[in-house]
Subunit: 251 residues, 2 copies
């Protein structure tokens, strides 16, 4: 049995869920509020950060960097030996025959140079995009009320700065999606999943100005219609409902 300790709107947790779903692995999800600093959680990951993946009884794999590279190292479904934790037939049984997208992807496909480009973009989204947009937006719109004061309202100046940053990032996604089949190159990769995970949080909160970035929108729609995305689209955060179009494949 696999367990993913996560938080519903944590973008790194979402990236891990997408990656696992691409391998048709459905872990048991355990929600953690990192700001409560529970000793049991800190024993699992001393950094106190999400997500944490537990594969059977093995040591926990902590953080999205280690998890993504681990899945890249050991694509569990490709593993033909007897330790393979998923019966390929079971995984296949859940596969819609009309769904022409593969049920898994290599997270870091290509040559070392192509992999470096994918990782540059993973770093862009998990680092820069998260710092400049998702983390700030989550704090203003969700965490401030959960962690400090139920009556807290977002700081409009901060929201305005986030919106400015977001336009810059959307232009970049639009540009990449215009130049390439997927953000990191010809093949779907973890760069797409990391980017989509971040954007899915911003989209849940209704802040993505899709109409101005039509090519980015098409790229996101392709990801959103993948089987691996379904779990994320079903998420509902008590106290913070998603934007009306959040789960629509035709948005």
């Amino acid at each position: 049995m696999h367990t993913l300790t996560h938080f519903r709107l944590c973008p790194f947790s979402r990236a891990a869920r997408l990656a696992l779903a691409e391998f048709a692995i459905e872990p048991t999800l355990v929600e953690e509020r990192t700001w409560e600093w529970r000793p049991e959680f800190l024993a699992l990951n001393p950094a106190g950060e999400l997500p944490v993946l537990q594969i059977d009884d093995a040591a926990p794999i902590c953080g999205i960097y280690a998890i993504a590279e681990y899945l890249g190292d050991t694509p569990l479904l490709d593993d033909a030996d007897s330790d393979a934790s998923i019966d390929p037939e079971d995984a296949g049984a859940d596969h819609d025959p009309d769904d022409t997208t593969p049920i898994n992807c290599k997270l870091f496909p290509g040559t070392p140079a192509e992999r470096a480009e994918i990782r540059r973009l993973v770093d862009w989204f998990n680092g820069k995009f998260n710092r400049e947009i998702t983390q700030e937006l989550l704090y203003e719109r969700v965490y401030a009320r959960m962690q400090h004061d139920r009556t807290a309202t977002p700081d409009v100046d901060v929201l305005r700065a986030i919106a400015t940053n977001l336009r810059y990032h959307m232009s970049y996604i639009n540009h990449l999606a215009d130049q390439r089949r997927w953000l990191g190159g010809d093949e779907l990769s973890f760069a797409d999943l990391a980017a989509a995970a971040q954007l899915s949080v911003v989209d849940y909160l209704g802040e993505v100005p899709w109409e101005n970035y039509p090519i980015a929108k098409i790229w996101y729609a392709r990801l959103k219609s993948r089987r691996s995305f379904r779990g994320l689209l079903a998420d509902r955060m008590p106290g913070t409902l998603p934007a009306a179009h959040y789960a629509d494949l035709d948005f």
Copy 2:
């Protein structure tokens, strides 16, 4: 010819320099002040972040995540084909016969699970340690004056918070170094290099309370005495001299 665009006290640039030096690769170093937002630099790395590695005429490899994994993917010295960019004899000629440490290491040695543990720690140092200590300390002690106001003085409350954070991190390093031969396990790995790179910046600024963490000190002394560390120990930042013991192997 290889080029590393870096900044002398940037911990990520230092981690890249250590990793390259472990492979006996000596790139041409080009210093960049990212806060000047030079268009030529942004053309090289649109994220505007350091370090950036250029291997011959290939596309730039941007950021410490992509660089470290690239070096893990393609250990250049292990590469026996004719593209190998370093003549092994040349590399050997620079090797001190009395120096029993290997001239290179695998950056992510071991099984996928062992590699996941190494990457957890890389994330700890490049993420958490950097955010809670190095980045803040560099701003207070170096960048505020370089970027904004030559007469700026550090905020003592911030310095006190950094010192508190540092004690916690030093305890963790001490604990890891007590349990294992190297931080990530039995073998030297990029976890050690990432940790040492961060600490080397804090040590340059004279802020590491070594006397209270004797096992961490022994671990750092072992790294510091490696050939790969020499470049870092020779660094001098105009306007900010290093602590007196900074370059001493016996500190």
